[in-house]
Protein backbone atom coordinates (compact mmCIF):
# COMPACT_ATOMS: atom_id res chain seq x y z
CA UNK A 1 0.00 0.00 0.00
CA UNK A 2 1.39 3.38 -0.96
CA UNK A 3 0.56 6.39 1.09
CA UNK A 4 -1.95 8.56 -0.71
CA UNK A 5 -1.30 12.25 -1.10
CA UNK A 6 -3.27 14.34 1.29
CA UNK A 7 -6.43 15.76 -0.25
CA UNK A 8 -6.17 19.45 -1.17
CA UNK A 9 -7.24 21.77 1.59
CA UNK A 10 -10.93 22.71 1.30
CA UNK A 11 -11.26 26.21 -0.13
CA UNK A 12 -13.26 27.37 2.89
CA UNK A 13 -10.31 26.56 5.14
CA UNK A 14 -7.87 28.43 2.91
CA UNK A 15 -10.14 31.44 2.63
CA UNK A 16 -10.84 31.55 6.33
CA UNK A 17 -7.13 31.39 7.23
CA UNK A 18 -6.23 34.20 4.82
CA UNK A 19 -9.13 36.46 5.78
CA UNK A 20 -8.40 35.88 9.46
CA UNK A 21 -4.74 36.82 9.01
CA UNK A 22 -5.67 40.00 7.12
CA UNK A 23 -8.26 40.96 9.74
CA UNK A 24 -5.67 40.50 12.50
CA UNK A 25 -3.22 42.73 10.64
CA UNK A 26 -5.72 45.56 10.09
CA UNK A 27 -7.97 45.38 13.15
CA UNK A 28 -5.43 46.66 15.62
CA UNK A 29 -4.95 50.10 14.05
CA UNK A 30 -7.35 52.80 15.35
CA UNK A 31 -6.36 55.34 12.67
CA UNK A 32 -7.46 52.94 9.89
CA UNK A 33 -10.89 52.77 11.59
CA UNK A 34 -10.93 56.56 12.00
CA UNK A 35 -10.51 57.05 8.24
CA UNK A 36 -13.05 54.28 7.56
CA UNK A 37 -10.54 52.38 5.42
CA UNK A 38 -11.01 48.67 4.78
CA UNK A 39 -9.05 46.11 2.76
CA UNK A 40 -10.37 43.65 0.20
CA UNK A 41 -8.37 40.58 -0.78
CA UNK A 42 -8.22 38.55 -3.97
CA UNK A 43 -5.64 35.80 -3.52
CA UNK A 44 -2.66 37.70 -2.16
CA UNK A 45 -3.67 41.00 -3.81
CA UNK A 46 -5.03 43.73 -1.55
CA UNK A 47 -7.16 46.72 -2.51
CA UNK A 48 -7.75 49.43 0.07
CA UNK A 49 -11.06 51.28 0.03
CA UNK A 50 -11.73 54.64 1.67
CA UNK A 51 -15.51 55.18 1.45
CA UNK A 52 -16.49 58.82 1.12
CA UNK A 53 -17.34 60.58 4.37
CA UNK A 54 -17.92 64.31 4.91
CA UNK A 55 -15.17 64.27 7.58
CA UNK A 56 -12.60 63.59 4.83
CA UNK A 57 -13.26 66.91 3.10
CA UNK A 58 -10.41 69.42 3.02
CA UNK A 59 -11.99 72.07 0.83
CA UNK A 60 -15.68 72.83 1.32
CA UNK A 61 -16.37 74.48 -2.06
CA UNK A 62 -15.79 72.99 -4.51
CA UNK A 63 -15.79 69.91 -2.29
CA UNK A 64 -12.48 68.01 -2.43
CA UNK A 65 -10.87 65.32 -0.31
CA UNK A 66 -8.26 66.61 2.14
CA UNK A 67 -4.75 66.04 0.80
CA UNK A 68 -3.79 64.76 4.24
CA UNK A 69 -6.51 62.12 4.13
CA UNK A 70 -5.26 61.00 0.71
CA UNK A 71 -1.68 60.91 2.01
CA UNK A 72 -2.69 58.88 5.05
CA UNK A 73 -4.73 56.51 2.86
CA UNK A 74 -1.72 55.88 0.59
CA UNK A 75 0.59 55.41 3.58
CA UNK A 76 -1.63 52.88 5.36
CA UNK A 77 -2.10 51.02 2.07
CA UNK A 78 1.70 50.81 1.75
CA UNK A 79 2.23 49.66 5.36
CA UNK A 80 -0.55 47.08 5.39
CA UNK A 81 0.45 45.74 1.96
CA UNK A 82 4.05 45.39 3.17
CA UNK A 83 2.96 43.73 6.42
CA UNK A 84 0.73 41.43 4.39
CA UNK A 85 3.61 40.50 2.04
CA UNK A 86 5.66 39.53 5.13
CA UNK A 87 2.75 37.55 6.60
CA UNK A 88 1.75 35.65 3.45
CA UNK A 89 4.63 33.07 3.36
CA UNK A 90 4.07 32.38 7.07
CA UNK A 91 0.38 31.55 6.72
CA UNK A 92 0.79 29.74 3.40
CA UNK A 93 3.88 27.77 4.41
CA UNK A 94 1.86 25.36 6.47
CA UNK A 95 2.09 27.62 9.51
CA UNK A 96 -0.77 29.06 11.47
CA UNK A 97 -2.08 32.57 11.25
CA UNK A 98 -0.63 34.51 14.16
CA UNK A 99 -3.10 35.06 16.99
CA UNK A 100 -1.81 38.53 17.81
CA UNK A 101 -1.25 41.32 15.34
CA UNK A 102 2.30 41.08 14.00
CA UNK A 103 4.56 44.13 14.35
CA UNK A 104 4.11 46.48 11.39
CA UNK A 105 6.92 48.19 9.46
CA UNK A 106 7.63 51.83 10.37
CA UNK A 107 7.68 54.66 7.85
CA UNK A 108 11.10 56.22 7.28
CA UNK A 109 10.03 58.63 4.54
CA UNK A 110 7.00 59.04 2.33
CA UNK A 111 6.63 61.16 -0.81
CA UNK A 112 3.24 61.94 -2.31
CA UNK A 113 2.49 63.29 -5.78
CA UNK A 114 -0.96 64.83 -6.03
CA UNK A 115 -2.15 64.28 -9.57
CA UNK A 116 -5.81 65.32 -9.50
CA UNK A 117 -8.26 66.72 -6.98
CA UNK A 118 -9.88 64.02 -4.86
CA UNK A 119 -13.62 64.13 -5.52
CA UNK A 120 -16.22 63.64 -2.78
CA UNK A 121 -16.66 59.93 -3.48
CA UNK A 122 -15.05 56.57 -2.65
CA UNK A 123 -11.32 56.16 -3.22
CA UNK A 124 -9.31 53.00 -3.86
CA UNK A 125 -5.61 52.22 -3.53
CA UNK A 126 -3.13 49.47 -4.17
CA UNK A 127 0.51 49.18 -3.25
CA UNK A 128 3.45 47.41 -4.85
CA UNK A 129 6.30 46.25 -2.66
CA UNK A 130 9.28 46.84 -4.92
CA UNK A 131 11.97 45.70 -2.51
CA UNK A 132 12.06 43.96 0.86
CA UNK A 133 15.39 43.68 2.60
CA UNK A 134 16.22 42.54 6.12
CA UNK A 135 16.10 46.14 7.41
CA UNK A 136 14.55 48.32 4.71
CA UNK A 137 11.71 48.04 2.22
CA UNK A 138 10.56 50.22 -0.67
CA UNK A 139 6.87 50.48 -1.49
CA UNK A 140 4.90 52.39 -4.14
CA UNK A 141 1.20 53.07 -3.85
CA UNK A 142 -1.45 54.61 -6.04
CA UNK A 143 -4.97 55.89 -5.36
CA UNK A 144 -7.82 56.37 -7.80
CA UNK A 145 -11.56 56.99 -7.75
CA UNK A 146 -13.95 56.46 -10.65
CA UNK A 147 -11.34 55.70 -13.26
CA UNK A 148 -8.46 53.30 -12.65
CA UNK A 149 -6.41 54.98 -15.40
CA UNK A 150 -6.73 58.43 -13.84
CA UNK A 151 -5.03 58.13 -10.43
CA UNK A 152 -5.63 60.99 -7.97
CA UNK A 153 -2.29 60.48 -6.22
CA UNK A 154 0.78 58.27 -6.22
CA UNK A 155 3.37 57.78 -3.51
CA UNK A 156 6.66 56.09 -2.74
CA UNK A 157 8.22 55.41 0.62
CA UNK A 158 10.94 53.66 2.58
CA UNK A 159 10.02 51.52 5.57
CA UNK A 160 11.95 50.04 8.45
CA UNK A 161 11.26 46.33 8.88
CA UNK A 162 10.37 45.05 12.37
CA UNK A 163 13.36 43.42 14.06
CA UNK A 164 13.71 39.66 13.81
CA UNK A 165 11.11 39.36 11.10
CA UNK A 166 13.28 39.23 8.01
Amino acid sequence: MTARRAAPEPVEVTRQRRDQALATLVAGVPYITFLGVRFERRGDELTAIMPYASSLIGNPAPAALHGGATAAFLEMTAIISLGWAMLWPRIEGGGQAPGAAPALPKTIDFTIDYLRAGLPRDAYARARVTRVGRRYASVQSEAWQDNRDRPIAQAAGHFLMPPGDG
Binding site: Y31, S55, N59, A72, I112, D113
Partner: protein
Amino acid sequence: MADDTDTRADGATAKDFFGTVPHATALGLTFGTIEGGTAVMSMPWAERLVGDPATGVVHGGAVSALMDTCCGAAVMSHPQMGGPTATLGLRIDYMRPATPGQTIRAEATCHHVTRTVAFVRAVAMDDDSARPVATATGTFTVSAA
Protein backbone atom coordinates in the same frame (compact mmCIF):
# COMPACT_ATOMS: atom_id res chain seq x y z
CA MET B 1 -6.28 73.52 -1.69
CA ALA B 2 -8.63 76.37 -1.03
CA ASP B 3 -9.87 79.67 -2.30
CA ASP B 4 -7.99 82.18 -0.22
CA THR B 5 -8.82 85.43 -1.93
CA ASP B 6 -9.87 86.97 1.36
CA THR B 7 -7.44 85.18 3.64
CA ARG B 8 -4.22 86.54 2.21
CA ALA B 9 -1.71 87.57 4.86
CA ASP B 10 -4.52 87.70 7.35
CA GLY B 11 -3.99 85.33 10.25
CA ALA B 12 -7.43 85.67 11.77
CA THR B 13 -9.24 84.98 8.50
CA ALA B 14 -6.94 82.08 7.59
CA LYS B 15 -7.68 80.59 11.01
CA ASP B 16 -11.40 81.04 10.39
CA PHE B 17 -11.05 79.20 7.11
CA PHE B 18 -9.18 76.23 8.59
CA GLY B 19 -11.68 76.06 11.40
CA THR B 20 -14.30 75.17 8.77
CA VAL B 21 -12.30 72.37 7.11
CA PRO B 22 -14.11 69.15 8.10
CA HIS B 23 -11.02 66.92 8.04
CA ALA B 24 -9.04 69.40 10.15
CA THR B 25 -11.86 69.32 12.71
CA ALA B 26 -11.95 65.50 12.59
CA LEU B 27 -8.21 65.40 13.31
CA GLY B 28 -8.72 67.79 16.25
CA LEU B 29 -6.33 70.42 14.85
CA THR B 30 -5.93 73.69 16.70
CA PHE B 31 -4.49 76.75 14.98
CA GLY B 32 -1.78 79.13 16.10
CA THR B 33 -0.36 82.03 14.11
CA ILE B 34 -0.95 81.88 10.36
CA GLU B 35 0.54 84.93 8.65
CA GLY B 36 3.25 86.19 6.33
CA GLY B 37 4.03 82.77 4.89
CA THR B 38 4.37 80.92 8.19
CA ALA B 39 1.85 78.73 9.98
CA VAL B 40 1.74 77.00 13.35
CA MET B 41 -0.80 74.33 14.26
CA SER B 42 -1.20 71.52 16.75
CA MET B 43 -2.71 68.05 16.86
CA PRO B 44 -3.43 66.84 20.42
CA TRP B 45 -2.88 63.12 21.01
CA ALA B 46 -6.08 61.08 20.66
CA GLU B 47 -6.81 57.37 20.67
CA ARG B 48 -8.38 57.51 17.18
CA LEU B 49 -5.11 58.78 15.66
CA VAL B 50 -3.04 55.85 16.93
CA GLY B 51 -1.20 53.68 14.40
CA ASP B 52 0.41 51.21 16.78
CA PRO B 53 -1.96 50.09 19.54
CA ALA B 54 0.88 48.31 21.38
CA THR B 55 2.63 51.62 22.04
CA GLY B 56 -0.04 54.29 21.48
CA VAL B 57 2.13 56.04 18.89
CA VAL B 58 0.21 58.27 16.44
CA HIS B 59 -0.03 56.94 12.86
CA GLY B 60 2.39 58.45 10.35
CA GLY B 61 -0.60 59.27 8.16
CA ALA B 62 -2.01 61.58 10.83
CA VAL B 63 1.34 63.40 10.98
CA SER B 64 1.20 63.67 7.16
CA ALA B 65 -2.28 65.20 7.35
CA LEU B 66 -1.07 67.73 9.94
CA MET B 67 1.96 68.57 7.76
CA ASP B 68 -0.16 68.96 4.61
CA THR B 69 -2.58 71.30 6.37
CA CYS B 70 0.17 73.36 7.98
CA CYS B 71 2.15 73.67 4.71
CA GLY B 72 -1.01 74.69 2.84
CA ALA B 73 -1.79 77.33 5.45
CA ALA B 74 1.73 78.77 5.21
CA VAL B 75 1.39 79.02 1.43
CA MET B 76 -2.03 80.65 1.62
CA SER B 77 -0.78 83.26 4.07
CA HIS B 78 2.21 84.24 1.90
CA PRO B 79 1.96 87.88 0.74
CA GLN B 80 2.67 86.91 -2.89
CA MET B 81 -0.20 84.43 -3.04
CA GLY B 82 -3.44 85.73 -4.46
CA GLY B 83 -5.56 82.79 -5.55
CA PRO B 84 -6.35 79.25 -4.59
CA THR B 85 -3.57 76.69 -4.15
CA ALA B 86 -3.26 72.91 -4.14
CA THR B 87 -0.55 70.52 -3.01
CA LEU B 88 1.65 69.30 -5.88
CA GLY B 89 4.05 67.17 -3.87
CA LEU B 90 4.87 66.51 -0.25
CA ARG B 91 7.76 64.53 1.22
CA ILE B 92 7.82 63.61 4.87
CA ASP B 93 10.78 62.24 6.82
CA TYR B 94 9.93 60.51 10.08
CA MET B 95 12.79 60.94 12.53
CA ARG B 96 11.25 59.25 15.55
CA PRO B 97 7.86 58.17 16.94
CA ALA B 98 5.93 60.97 18.62
CA THR B 99 5.69 60.36 22.37
CA PRO B 100 2.22 58.93 23.13
CA GLY B 101 -0.02 61.36 24.98
CA GLN B 102 1.83 64.46 23.80
CA THR B 103 0.52 67.11 21.39
CA ILE B 104 2.29 67.27 18.03
CA ARG B 105 3.01 70.83 16.91
CA ALA B 106 3.87 71.71 13.31
CA GLU B 107 5.56 74.86 12.02
CA ALA B 108 5.65 75.53 8.28
CA THR B 109 7.39 78.25 6.28
CA CYS B 110 6.65 79.11 2.68
CA HIS B 111 10.18 80.23 1.81
CA HIS B 112 9.91 80.86 -1.92
CA VAL B 113 7.14 81.68 -4.39
CA THR B 114 7.50 81.85 -8.17
CA ARG B 115 4.79 82.65 -10.71
CA THR B 116 3.89 78.95 -10.81
CA VAL B 117 5.13 77.17 -7.66
CA ALA B 118 5.28 77.83 -3.91
CA PHE B 119 7.96 76.01 -1.88
CA VAL B 120 7.44 75.06 1.76
CA ARG B 121 9.30 73.32 4.55
CA ALA B 122 7.89 72.20 7.88
CA VAL B 123 8.91 70.56 11.10
CA ALA B 124 6.79 68.63 13.61
CA MET B 125 7.67 68.33 17.30
CA ASP B 126 6.24 66.95 20.50
CA ASP B 127 7.16 68.24 24.00
CA ASP B 128 10.85 67.61 23.27
CA SER B 129 11.26 70.34 20.66
CA ALA B 130 15.01 69.75 20.39
CA ARG B 131 14.40 66.43 18.65
CA PRO B 132 11.91 66.83 15.76
CA VAL B 133 9.40 64.04 15.17
CA ALA B 134 9.24 64.69 11.43
CA THR B 135 10.20 67.19 8.75
CA ALA B 136 8.47 67.88 5.46
CA THR B 137 9.11 69.69 2.21
CA GLY B 138 6.30 70.51 -0.17
CA THR B 139 5.46 72.21 -3.43
CA PHE B 140 2.12 73.92 -4.05
CA THR B 141 0.43 75.36 -7.11
CA VAL B 142 0.19 79.11 -7.71
CA SER B 143 -2.83 80.05 -9.76
CA ALA B 144 -2.42 82.26 -12.77
CA ALA B 145 -3.05 85.91 -12.00
